[in-house]
Structures are given as C-alpha cells and as structure tokens.
C-alpha cells in the first residue's frame, strides 16, 4: 500500500500542471478592474500601470538572478537531502516567477492600449483627478454610512472643492436660527 508521500510523488506531474494554471497572482480581471481601474482618470490609470510594470520588472530581474544563484548552489551540493530541498525551493521559485511574468504580460498589454502621458500632461490632469476622486469617495461615504467622513471633507476643503465645512455648517445653522 502506498504511503501518503508515495501518492503525492505519484500525482506530482498532474498537480504541477494545475499549480501552473492556477497560481496566487492577480488575475487579468483583477489587474484591469481593481488595480488599473481603481483610478478615476486616464492619466492616473496610466501612472498606476507604469508603477506596477516597474515593480514587476525589477522583481522579475532580481528573481532571475536569485534563481541563477540557487541553480549554482544546487549543482554544487553533494548532500542528497540538501540537494532535494534546494530542488523544491527552485520549483517554488519558478512558480513564483511564472506568476510574475504572467502579470507583467497583462500589464504590458494594458500599457500598449493606453494613451501615454508626459510628466506635464500628468500634472495638468491632477486637478480633475482629485475633483472626481474626492467626489466619488464622498458619495461612497454617503451610500455606506449616511454622511461624508471627516477625512474626505477635510481633503475636499484643502483642495478648495468646497468651502470650509465648519463655516458652512455654522452659516446654515445661523440662517435657520434667524428664520425661526
């Protein structure tokens, strides 16, 4: 009768394919809608995409070097158990790398479809971005909690999207008092 480890080893090839097809990276849908799509304007979406690509690019480059180093260590290892452990780490590293490369490809495809922004164009689009974002966040506050949170009110005031909320409140209150 097979032990558990024999069964696991026996099914390894079959499972490795599944490991490759389903990994813990972000799906294309998540990247498109919840990473890039989280922003209200095309300029900020472009910025997010470029930052994600930058993070992935450096991470992949580093991992390839780490993998190369581990392969050298694996080749030089004479102890059977240590060599097997290094082999498992290499397999895990490859899965992680595959996941990162897949995300990189998704991000790059999105990048190619996007309008590109220079630094000046990006800066010029900021006022509209914050107008849209803070209005949306205020609307989400009202929908979820019935009132705008202090943080969003404060930010809208700082960005001069609204008058000082405290002054507005007092003026409204005074007006009400006078009409009574």
């Amino acid at each position: 009768m097979n032990t558990a480890i024999d069964i696991i080893n026996d099914k390894r090839k079959e499972l490795e394919q599944a490991f490759c097809s389903v990994n813990a990276g972000r799906t294309d849908y998540q990247i498109e809608n919840f990473v890039i799509g989280t922003h209200d304007t095309a300029s900020r979406q472009y910025q997010q995409c470029v930052i994600e690509l930058q993070t992935k690019t450096y991470s992949i480059r580093r991992q390839i070097i780490e993998q190369r180093k581990m392969i050298k260590k694996f080749d030089a290892e004479t102890d059977v158990d240590e060599k097997e452990l290094l082999g498992i780490s290499l397999e895990e590293m490859q899965l992680s790398l595959d996941s990162e490369v897949r995300e990189w490809n998704t991000l790059y495809n999105i990048f190619q479809q996007m309008p590109k922004f220079t630094q000046q164009e990006f800066q010029d689009a900021e006022a509209e971005y914050w107008q849209l974002r803070l209005a949306r966040q205020a609307q989400e506050d009202i929908m979820a909690h019935g009132r705008i949170s202090v943080g969003n009110l404060d930010a809208m005031w700082q960005a001069k999207h609204i008058d000082n909320p405290a002054v507005a409140f007092i003026q409204q209150h005074e007006k009400k008092e006078l009409t009574q």
């Binding site: 799509g37 922003h39 979406q45 992680s96 590109k116 949306r136 019935g146 943080g151």
Partner: protein
C-alpha cells in the same frame, strides 16, 4: 482634456461617469464590529533608516488622498525601532523598542499620539518589561503588547503579554503565550486578539487572546503558510477576516504570499499575493483597504502596497510610501 480620448480606459472612468445623480439610501444595518483604528490618518513611528541608523520621527498618512508626510517636528519621546503599537480611533499607544540594533537599549516606556490635535505625550505608565520585536493589537478599549525580546539579543523570545486599558493607560499583566514568540504580528475583532509568527522557528500556530476573560488559547486551525515578520497583519473594516500579508517564510526568504483567517469560522485560506515580496514592514488601513508599507524587500524599501479587502487585490500606492526607508517601524 485627455490625449487620444478614443483609446480604451479601464474600470473606474466608466464607473465614475455612471455615478451622477443622487445616491440611493442604504440602511447600514446592525454592526457587530467596531473598527478599532482611526480612519482619517495613519501614523508610523521610529524605525531604522538603512543599516545602523535609528530614527525617532513620526510620519502621518492621510487616507482620503493616500499621501504620507513627515510629521513636522514631531519626535517620539522614547520609543525606537522594533517598538510595539496599539492602534486606536482617537489615539494610538506605542511601547518599548530599542535605541540600538541589538537590544542593548531596550525600553519599557510608551508614547501616546492623539489624532485630533496631532500631538504626542509620554504614556502615563511604562510596561512591566523592557521589550522590542513584539506585537501590539486590541479592540477599541483594550490593547495587548505581546511577546518579543525582553533579553538582549534577537534570539530571545518572550511569552509575556501586557494588557493596556486605553482610557486610563493602566498596564496590567496579561496571559502568557504557550511558548515564547518574537517577530510576531497581532490583530483582532471586538472579542479576540489573534497572534501569529515566530516561536523557535517559523510557526503556523495561531494564538487567541480573549479580552473579557484575559486568557489565551491556541486555535485548532493553523495558517496556510508559516510566517515570521509578516509585512502586515490586520483585521478588515467589516471585522470578518484577519489578513496576514507577505512575510518571511524562511524557505524562499521574503515571500509575497497572503492569507486570511475567517474570524467567524476561524479557518485560514490563501488569498491573492501582495504586489511584491517583503517582510518587517508596518500596517495601516481604512475600513476598505489595508496598506503594507516599507520594510525589507530585496533591501530596505519605502514601498507601500494597498490591499483592497473587498476584492483581495494588491496595488502599488506610491503616495503612501514611507518617507524614510524605516524598516522595523511601528505603524497603525
């Protein structure tokens, strides 16, 4: 306004256009969880800037705009790197820490930060034990400082916990962990504080402290991956899950692996990876997003990743990046 306006845009732009008009009224229902953190600002305290240099600065991030900034001329009184922090909605308490890198300057003193006035003051009471490398967490009224190193040298692990009542800043002895732990993280809901991290090696065990009974137990369930120095461990805004994001698995080193513990069933499940692998960062967050900031990636990093708990999705949030490369800072 936008160059090439016929080009495809993604998600939010379409959504924002469709959001015109009055918002529908939605009954908030009956809340069973009181979010224990401030939802306007996050703070981070002290830490190590690069190799060997210790800072005692405060930084403050604003969640509505996702921007972090040095908190001008605000320096923590006596809490330094590897300190432990308890987040509150009106004030946060940071305790202990170390004034050098090896535990020789370990402390028991505390610092209280008040969000509404953006000021700090020394805590009324010190901990019973000097300690660093532990974890802090709690609910809206009670916080625990858990484990850490109380003897010089990072290999020493403590099983002692201390209980702090936020309203009075009173410090009392808490229940002991079953084994000593450092490099651990803690987060919880109204009733329990969950503790994960290093024992004598990386551990999958989850300890649970009951606030009302002041007792500790080990859950039958374990984490999916053993972690030390998780980048972030924090409960989500609805109080349904404890998220444990990235950390050092001591197999492949820094890992981007994330997992979440359901607090209703106390079971752990894998979830989408963090944008990049790292450990020893600090946690901040709102009711909808958890931020894993700074720490150690391939080297000291300032990078912040926002983890949206509604979709379990990670994205880089550069505005929230730490000002200094303050690995081992305490954040909330």
């Amino acid at each position: 306004m936008f160059k090439n306006s016929s080009a495809p845009r993604f998600g939010r732009v379409k959504f924002a256009i469709g959001m015109e008009g009055p918002a529908p009224f939605i009954d908030p229902g009956t809340a069973t969880f009181t979010y224990p953190f401030n939802t306007t600002y996050g703070i981070n305290v002290a830490g190590r800037i690069g190799a060997g240099s210790v800072t005692n600065k405060y930084e403050r991030s604003t969640y509505s705009t996702e921007v972090n900034a040095t908190n001008a001329n605000l320096y923590v009184g006596s809490v330094y790197l590897y300190s432990q922090i308890i987040g509150g909605s009106t004030n946060s308490m940071a305790y202990g820490g170390d004034t050098d890198n090896a535990g020789a300057g370990k402390l028991a003193t505390g610092d209280s930060y008040t969000y509404s006035t953006n000021t700090r003051a020394a805590a009324t009471n010190s901990l019973a034990n000097t300690r660093y490398y532990g974890a802090g967490g709690g609910n809206t009224t009670i916080g625990y400082i858990v484990g850490g190193c109380i003897i010089v040298g990072s290999t020493n692990v403590s099983l002692l916990t201390e209980k702090i009542t936020l309203a009075t800043q009173a410090v009392a002895v808490g229940p002991s962990l079953p084994t000593g732990q450092n490099n651990l993280r803690a987060g919880g809901n109204d009733a329990y504080l969950y503790v994960v991290g290093y024992t004598t090696a990386n551990s999958k065990s989850i300890r649970r402290i009951a606030y009302s009974a002041n007792t500790i137990s080990t859950l039958a369930a374990v984490m999916t991956t053993a972690f030390a120095a998780a980048s972030t461990c924090r409960v989500n805004g609805s109080g349904t899950h404890l998220y444990c994001l990235a950390g050092n698995d001591q197999v492949t080193g820094n890992s981007a692996t994330c997992q979440k513990l359901s607090l209703s069933t106390e079971t752990c499940a894998s979830t989408t990876n963090l944008t990049a692998a790292k450990n020893d960062g600090y946690a901040q967050g709102t009711s909808t997003k958890i931020y894993a900031v700074a720490g150690y990636g391939s080297s000291y990093t300032t990078a912040a990743y926002g983890y949206t708990t509604a979709t379990d999705t990670s994205a880089a949030v550069t505005g929230m990046n730490a000002i200094d490369k303050n690995v081992f800072a305490a954040g909330t």
